[in-house]
Amino acid sequence: MLERKLVNVGFDRVVLRDRRPFGLATLARYPIFAPEFLDFVERVVPPDRHDALVYAVDVTATAAT
């Protein structure tokens, strides 16, 4: 979906440079999340997704000429 959005607004040569799972342990490193929120996420998200709630991606693209 991100690649499609980039192309739709005028980017090309979209390249996925890196992709990493972003789970509860990673979330806990960020001080914007209180322990209560982390407990909430742990409670409502199935355990098999705790290590990869989302993915962090590094993407490059070029402004189409």
Partner: protein, 188 residues
């Protein structure tokens, strides 16, 4: 149908980042190499809230004009600023005054002079069309309720052939609705 209006989302994000109290430097050390962090004050490292390392993939060179969208406390802008000297410069944009104040403080401590800081929204960048060579964006696009608009703005300010280096969070499957409705989750 979004769970938050644009105004609500901005208010939640701004409040969350203003209230943040960093305690460690784990995020910076996971995302950046030691040589990239050399000379960056430890206090600045505490404010590294990105999710990747877009500068690493941007291929920056001397003389380039770089825009850091959602610069936060400035860590990517600082790394970029060193790579575009002597004639290049970096423009750091953020919507949270408290984060910009931290960026200015750290830049002064590092004696970095080729970065300017501006308060603005990613969906309305205060720059002319085709005026920058590279756009950086680290863990910020996901905070917008108008992602396509923000991306279109990044494209607008890039010169033809200019590069975008973006790090962000993506879903491969939906999160439970309780999370989608949660204001704290929005700030991620």
């Amino acid at each position: 149908m979004p769970y938050f209006t644009d105004a609500d989302a901005r208010s939640i994000v701004r409040t969350t980042y203003e209230a943040a109290t960093p305690v460690g430097i784990d995020v910076a050390h996971v995302l950046y190499a030691p040589d990239e962090l050399a000379g960056v004050p430890e206090d600045a490292l505490r404010w590294a809230f990105g999710v990747g390392n877009p500068v690493r993939h941007a291929g920056l060179g001397p003389g380039e004009i770089v825009l850091d969208v959602g610069c936060g406390a400035g860590i990517d802008a600082f790394i970029a600023a060193r790579r575009v000297v002597p004639d290049g410069r970096v423009i750091g944009i953020d919507m949270t005054p408290a984060m910009l104040a931290r960026a200015r403080h750290h830049a002064a401590a590092m004696k970095i002079e080729n970065v300017e800081w501006r308060e603005a929204l990613m969906e309305a960048l205060p720059l002319p069309d085709g005026s920058v060579d590279v756009v950086l964006c680290n863990g910020v696009l996901n905070l917008s309720t108008r992602k396509s608009r923000a991306l279109a703005e990044m494209r607008r300010v890039l010169r033809p052939g200019g590069r975008l280096a973006l790090a962000d969070l993506v879903l491969t499957e939906s999160l439970p609705e309780e999370i989608q409705r949660d204001a704290t989750a929005l700030a991620a």
